[in-house]
């Protein structure tokens, strides 16, 4: 069991900044995120795109903002459970919460702060009528263990980086690799596109474009995919043991929707007059995942919400302790790692 003071669900910019504000109050944080890296949408969707409305940054790339936040919170040694989705929550007799992920990792904290953005990122599933029947029986939306494709015939579909990169990777493992895309053009890093081009020439990747997978064949397990060629509209069966559609990820609120929280407009209702607490005391929602009158889904608003949430969390954890907010310029920063940052003292000296 992982124990912490504030358990943050979602490691996007809002969740990361909450670690800093909590750290100033000497509260420890642990973050859970379904993605394998911190940063949320900033890292997953638009790391190379600029943001212009972070106060004090005339322009900052989303990826750099995440990098800076990670640097800023480093002294407060946050824990991370990455690549796992928060699944269930239960309240213990002492008032603390236990959150368990889809992989069974358990986390306990007196405070839970949901900073889940638009939800956890789930693979987009193509609209093929019988696709569900073959899930885990030859159809995988995410490649978890490439070894299962050893000496198998694999068909991939998609036109982005992951479709390109996995096609290249699997040529060394699978007996046959076919890549199908609806267009002739791919959207990916230049060297990924070139590598696929090269492997196609060598006959190691069977590239079929423009075409689309429209059906799946098999009895207990997939044994073929039905494709339709874009130009001729003709159909063809390709023998295959595995079909891997890689159409990117889309966010889903997911299991959090069933935690008994008040939901409105696909977001969690919070008390914005006070502290961004939900209808369940001890559970807060901050950033894009929450809603209240006048809500704006902006990173800068998430930072503010995280700050107020931490003050309220502190009072919940220590109801009898007196505390007032202290400016970092005055108090400096004492990291849990023993590091200290402080403003240099001014020199008081008489001039002769």
């Amino acid at each position: 069991m992982i124990k912490t003071d504030i358990l943050i669900i979602g490691a996007g910019p809002t969740g990361l900044f909450a670690v800093f504000e909590a750290g100033l109050l000497k509260l420890k944080c642990h973050l859970i995120d379904a993605l394998p890296q911190p940063g949320g949408q900033c890292s997953e969707i638009y790391p190379k795109k600029p943001i212009y409305d972070i106060p004090g940054f005339p322009e900052v790339l989303a990826g750099d903002l995440v990098k800076n936040l990670m640097e800023q919170i480093k002294p407060f040694q946050p824990g991370f459970t990455l690549g796992e989705r928060a699944e269930t929550i239960e309240k213990l007799d002492d008032g603390s919460f236990v959150v368990t992920t889809n992989k069974g990792t358990r986390h306990q904290a007196p405070i839970v702060a949901i900073a889940g953005g638009l939800g956890s990122f789930e693979p987009r599933k193509p609209l093929i009528p019988n696709i569900q029947q073959f899930e885990d029986k030859g159809v995988e939306y995410i490649i978890r263990n490439p070894e299962i494709y050893r000496n198998k015939r694999v068909v991939l579909a998609g036109g982005g980086d992951s479709a390109l990169d996995w096609s290249v990777f699997l040529t060394n493992i699978a007996s046959e690799v076919t890549l199908i895309h609806r267009r002739n053009e791919f959207r990916g890093a230049l060297d990924s596109v070139e590598k696929v081009q090269e492997l196609k020439k060598l006959g190691k990747i069977n590239l079929i474009t423009p075409a689309e997978v429209i059906g799946l064949r098999g009895v207990d397990h997939l044994d073929g995919v039905l494709i339709q060629h874009g130009e001729t509209q003709t159909e063809e069966i390709i023998e295959a043991d595995h079909f891997i559609p890689l159409f990117g990820l889309s966010p889903k609120l997911g299991p959090i929707a069933d935690w008994g929280l008040e939901i409105e407009k696909n977001a969690i209702k919070v008390d914005n007059a006070l502290d961004y607490q939900t209808n369940i005391p001890g559970i807060y929602a901050i950033g894009d995942v929450n809603t209240y009158p006048g809500k704006l889904k902006l990173i800068l608003c998430g930072f503010h919400e995280a700050t107020l949430m931490c003050q309220s969390a502190y009072q919940r954890i220590f109801p009898n302790k007196r505390y007032v907010m202290k400016y970092t310029t005055v108090g400096g920063i004492d990291g849990f790692d023993g590091s200290r940052k402080e403003a240099p003292k001014s020199v008081i000296k008489s001039i002769d």
Partner: protein, 110 residues
């Protein structure tokens, strides 16, 4: 600045006449959001970066629209329910030429 009128058929098949300002640097996705044509979280999910297709529309009138960018083309190539007249609402900039535009919002992806 003048406003333009745009007719949008929502996902339930209900038609709406929307008055859209031409001086606020808005796009069609944002106009639809401002009128709450579809529930929050089911339209404009990526915020207008042509990185999801939650604002996909079918253009039903013969207005001449600006050409698709490479990014829009690429996204539509991976989107579902795509037709010949599909466009991403977020890539359609509201300008005076769009007066009378008619679109149908494509179904939401599951």
């Amino acid at each position: 600045m003048q406003d333009v009128t745009i007719t949008v058929m929502d996902r339930e098949g209900v038609s709406h006449e929307l008055l859209a300002p031409t001086d606020m640097n808005m796009n069609l996705m944002e106009v639809m959001k401002s009128y709450e044509i579809a529930p929050e979280g089911t339209i404009g999910i990526c915020g207008g970066m042509a990185m999801c297709a939650s604002c996909q529309c079918y253009i039903e009138s013969d207005h001449k629209l600006a050409k698709k960018s490479d990014e829009e083309e690429a996204m539509l190539a991976e989107a579902f329910f795509v037709k010949e007249n599909s466009r991403l609402g977020c890539q359609i900039h509201i300008d005076p030429n769009l007066n009378g535009l008619k679109v149908t919002l494509a179904p939401a992806e599951e």
